[in-house]
Amino acid sequence: MFRILFLLFLGIGIGYLMRNVRGIRHVEKTTRLTIFALLFVFGITIGSNHALLNNIAYFGWQAVVIAVFGIVGSFGASYLFNRVLTRKGKQK
């Protein structure tokens, strides 16, 4: 985990120092390519696990339930956030 945070801040440092280098703009493109590579490799891990693949419907349904719960929770929390924010705005 610290490796991830370290890399993130290292990246921010490098990006800041190189902000005037023209090539740095390509980092967005290479980021996207890296995500493709990551998903591709992850897909291979899933695909080569045949037991898992046979149960994809079972996992898929669990995934949908957890995702929908997460979304409903986020929606509710942002509703409260908005309420608090607009009430503060009216007081001003």
């Binding site: 991830i4 945070l5 890399l7 993130l8 801040f9 290292l10 990246g11 921010i12 490098i14 990006g15 800041y16 120092l17 190189m18 902000r19 703009r25 980092v27 967005e28 980021t31 996207r32 890296t34 995500i35 493709f36 990551l38 998903l39 591709f40 490799v41 992850f42 897909g43 291979i44 891990t45 899933i46 695909g47 080569s48 696990n49 898992l52 693949l53 898929g60 669990q62 995934a63 949908v64 339930v65 957890i66 995702a67 929908v68 719960f69 997460g70 979304i71 409903v72 929770g73 986020s74 929606f75 509710g76 929390a77 942002s78 509703y79 409260l80 956030f81 908005n82 608090v84 924010l85």
Partner: protein
């Protein structure tokens, strides 16, 4: 949209190649996902660091902006824990870890796979990682396609919150378009950054 399609294609291509055992050995290297992930995080950092208006964005950060990611985390985790009632075969911590992906399927699934391999072995770890991947893919797709709906029914903050980590990249254009408000950029980006930092922390915590 085209982007999402390409993401889906790379995933499906990987699954197909894996399913028919066509992948060469080096692609099965266990440390390969972590290496690619490290490269990804480094590049995300470089992207943020090299932003033209980084200074202005940092100055425009208001203390209230810290509350939106906190709301997203609290709301998501609170409701995700309710999913435990449906799936008693999983540990509550595992379900919370899956919910802690906030739409960042690549990072969350790889992290869960890594953490869980140590404690419960590769087979169960891959199961949990797959559910994490699917959960967060579903979250991203619903956030992206439902952006307008969430903005109308809730507020622009609902769209940002539901997008999770994607509020700073994939969903950002749709959020701005749905709310018709460009000043949301710092809130949305900041929301994504805070969640991105919180994902490894939360997943490590719940996987223990």
């Amino acid at each position: 949209m085209k982007e999402n399609l390409l993401l889906l294609v790379s995933l499906l291509l990987g699954i197909t190649i894996g399913a028919f055992d066509l992948a060469p050995m080096w692609l099965h290297n266990a440390s390969l996902p972590m290496i690619i992930l490290s490269l990804l995080v480094l590049q995300v950092g470089m992207g943020v660091g090299s932003m033209d208006n980084l200074g202005r964005m940092i100055r425009s950060i208001h203390w209230q902006m810290f509350l939106l990611p906190a709301c997203t985390i609290a709301g998501t985790l609170l409701f995700t824990s309710l999913a435990f009632l449906f799936f008693s075969n999983h540990k509550l911590g595992d379900i919370m870890a899956i919910g802690s992906g906030f739409g960042y399927y690549s990072l969350s699934s790889v992290l869960i796979a890594q953490m869980k391999t140590i404690t419960v072995g590769p087979a169960q770890a891959t199961q949990l990682a797959t559910i994490a991947l699917l959960t967060n893919v579903v979250r991203e797709l619903l956030a992206l396609f439902g952006c307008k709906y969430f903005t109308r029914k809730g507020s622009c903050f609902a769209a940002i919150s539901i997008a999770g980590i994607n509020s700073m990249d994939v969903c950002l254009p749709s959020i701005l378009r749905a709310a018709n408000d460009k000043t949301l950029v710092p809130v949305a980006v900041f929301h994504g950054i805070i969640l991105e930092i919180s994902i490894p922390l939360l997943i490590t915590f719940f996987c223990q």
